[in-house]
């Protein structure tokens, strides 16, 4: 009887510990959610979660209009010509990131509207308000890292 009680108690503790760990893992994964500014400061990107993955879209542009045309900027360098009139404001440049643990999100891509190229990408949070965004082709070693800062600083 005592043994059964002890076993039940141990199982209950284990279940609570596991649930707690899942919640803290979810909270850590959602650290990515928010508005971020790349180092060039010309845009702000809002990262949100859709279903089980993370996506980032441009929500603010320092220069929202095309200097030549005077109209809102569009994705003029898209390799698919049919999509070159898509508005840059609201454009999803970060796609399909999943949380890998240890404050790292991977399996995603980053799109550079300046040249129309899409790169593989990993994101690492170095603290609650700073991200290392590494874009690369093929091998992670041969890539470039940019530092993004959270716009509304989390205390």
């Amino acid at each position: 009887m005592k043994k059964t009680f002890a076993l039940l108690l141990a199982l209950t503790f284990a279940l609570f510990a596991q649930t707690d760990s899942i919640h803290s893992q979810d909270a850590e994964a959602d650290l990515l959610v928010g508005v971020w500014e790349p180092s060039h400061g010309r845009a702000r990107v809002k990262i949100d979660k859709i279903a089980d993955k993370y996506y980032g879209k441009i929500v603010w542009l320092k220069e929202p209009n095309d200097p030549e045309k005077g109209t809102p900027k569009v994705d003029k360098n898209n390799p698919d010509e049919s999509m070159r009139e898509v508005a840059l404001k609201g454009y999803r440049i970060l796609k399909d990131f999943t949380y890998k643990g240890k404050r790292e999100w991977a399996d995603g891509t980053i799109y550079d509207p300046e040249n129309g190229n899409t790169y593989s990408c990993v994101i690492k949070a170095t603290d609650d308000n700073t991200l290392d965004i590494r874009g690369y082709i093929g091998v992670k070693t041969f890539g470039r890292t940019d530092v993004w800062k959270r716009v509304a600083v989390k205390k």
């Binding site: 809002k46 949100d48 859709i50 279903a51 089980d52 993955k53 996506y55 879209k57 441009i58 929500v59 603010w60 569009v74 390799p79 698919d80 010509e81 049919s82 999509m83 009139e85 898509v86 508005a87 404001k89 609201g90 454009y91 999803r92 796609k95 399909d96 891509t109």
Partner: protein
């Protein structure tokens, strides 16, 4: 005679290796309700709908994702549940997303015409591997909307999608 026979067999083998004949069908979804939860601020907002994939309804009894050789969107019609609300939207970008499949932009309209009750989106020429979405339990429809002004309530849109499927012959 022998040569002709061998050529015939070879031709059959090549045809079999190429995957066999396919049948092309066009199917339209029911009206799907996308919601952007308010209050909404002017600028970029997102309306979504999780669409449970039911190939039996879409293609007929007994079809599975393995029967789809190729899928392509041939139409996206958007209608606001409250017709006045379409005038709040400057532009729309429409994407498909799902677990284990890369998000794909399939259509957009920039800008929306004034006083329209419904709009047909411009479709992407390049649609790669759309058939992979039909192997999922559900597809998330993502409409990114640039709003002209703030909106207090939920913004609801109806979407009706038309797909063209190349089905492998059974």
């Amino acid at each position: 005679m022998k040569k002709t026979y061998f050529a015939y067999v070879l031709l059959l083998l090549v045809a079999a290796a190429c995957g066999g004949p396919t049948e092309s069908v066009e199917r339209q979804t029911d009206t799907l309700l996308l919601t952007a939860e308010g209050p909404l601020y002017d600028g970029s907002n997102t309306a979504t709908y999780t669409w449970p994939v039911d190939l039996n309804t879409l293609l007929g009894e007994g079809y599975t994702a393995a029967d789809i050789a190729k899928a392509r969107i041939t139409g996206i019609r958007i209608t606001a549940v409250n017709p006045d609300n379409l005038s709040l939207i400057n532009d729309i970008t429409f994407q498909l997303a799902g677990s284990g499949v890369a998000m794909q932009k399939v259509g957009f309209l920039n800008p929306l015409p004034a006083n329209a009750n419904s709009v047909d989106l411009v479709l992407a020429d390049e649609q790669k591997g759309l058939e992979a979405f039909f192997g999922l339990k559900e597809i998330t429809l993502v409409a990114d909307l640039n709003l002209i002004q703030e909106f207090e309530d939920n913004l609801e849109l109806h979407a009706q999608l038309t797909f063209n499927f190349d089905l492998k012959s059974k």
